[in-house]
Amino acid sequence: MSVHAESKAVAAPIQTKILFFAALREAVSSSEMLLPQLAPMQLSSLLTLLASQSTHIAAALTDREVLTAVNQQLVNQQAWVQPGDEVALFPPVTGG
C-alpha cells in the first residue's frame, strides 16, 4: 500500500506554465495560466488541451497566427513539452 501511495505521488500532475503576450494576452484576458500535465506531450496536443478549457481561449487561439516558445526557445507545434516546462504563446513579433 505504501508503495502504491509513493507511485501515485510520482505520477501527480506537474503545473506547466503557459504565458500569453500582447494581443493574445488581451484576447485570453490573462498573462499566465497553469495547466496540470502528467506526461510529455507535443505542443499541438497541449494547445488542444488548452483550447478545451474554454470557448474564450479556443477563439483567442484560432483567431490569429500564434507563435510558440518552449523554455524561451521559438519552436513549432511538433515540439515536445515536458511537465513543468515554460510554454509561451504570442502573436508575430514587432520589435526593433
Partner: protein, 164 residues
C-alpha cells in the same frame, strides 16, 4: 558549426529608460576597430486619415528572459558570420512618445563591411525573432502593430545568403 570569436563582447540591455547614443558609441570603441556602425530606431510621426488621427506613443511589451536570450543568440550569429569585436543592443520597453528612441544596435569591427552587415543582420532578426510587441496609441484608439511581410523578407535574405 563555427562559433563567435572568444574576444567578441556583447552588451545587451532591455530597459524602460532612455539611452545615450554617445555613451554607447564610446563603450563600443576598441583600438583595433576602424569602423563603427550604429542604428537608432525612433518613434516616428504617423498619421491616419479616416478618422483623422495621429500617433501619440508606442507601448512596447516583451517577454523578460527570452528577449535577452534571443538577442544574445542573434548577436552571436552576427559575430560568427562577420569579423566584429563589439556589439551593443539596447531595446526600450514601456510607453514611448513620438520622437523617442526605441532601439540602438551598435557594432565595431576592423573594417566597415563587417560592421554594416552585422548591424543590419541584427536589426532584421530583431524585427522577426525577438519577443517584443508594439501597440500604437493614437488619440482615439490603440491597436497592436501587425508584423510586416517586408520584415520577414529582410530576415529571410540572411538565411539564403548563409546557405550559398
Amino acid at each position: 558549426m563555427p562559433s563567435a570569436p572568444a574576444d567578441y563582447q556583447l552588451i545587451c540591455r532591455i530597459q524602460h529608460d532612455d539611452f545615450s547614443l554617445e555613451q554607447e558609441y564610446q563603450a563600443l570603441l576598441r583600438p583595433d576597430c576602424g569602423a563603427v556602425v550604429l542604428f537608432s530606431g525612433l518613434v516616428r510621426e504617423q498619421f491616419q486619415a479616416e478618422p483623422a488621427d495621429s500617433l501619440q506613443a508606442l507601448e512596447l511589451e516583451h517577454y523578460p528572459g527570452m528577449t535577452e536570450r534571443a538577442i544574445t543568440a542573434i548577436a552571436e550569429q552576427a559575430a560568427t558570420r562577420f569579423n566584429v569585436r563589439t556589439i551593443t543592443v539596447i531595446h526600450r520597453v514601456g510607453l514611448l512618445s513620438t520622437g523617442a528612441q526605441i532601439v540602438l544596435v551598435g557594432v565595431a569591427s576592423a573594417h566597415r563591411a563587417d560592421a554594416f552587415s552585422a548591424c543590419e543582420l541584427i536589426m532584421d532578426f530583431l524585427k522577426n525573432q525577438v519577443p517584443i510587441w508594439k501597440k500604437a496609441h493614437f488619440h482615439s484608439q490603440a491597436q497592436w502593430v501587425d508584423a510586416k511581410a517586408t520584415d520577414q523578407a529582410a530576415a529571410a535574405r540572411w538565411v539564403q545568403e548563409n546557405t550559398l
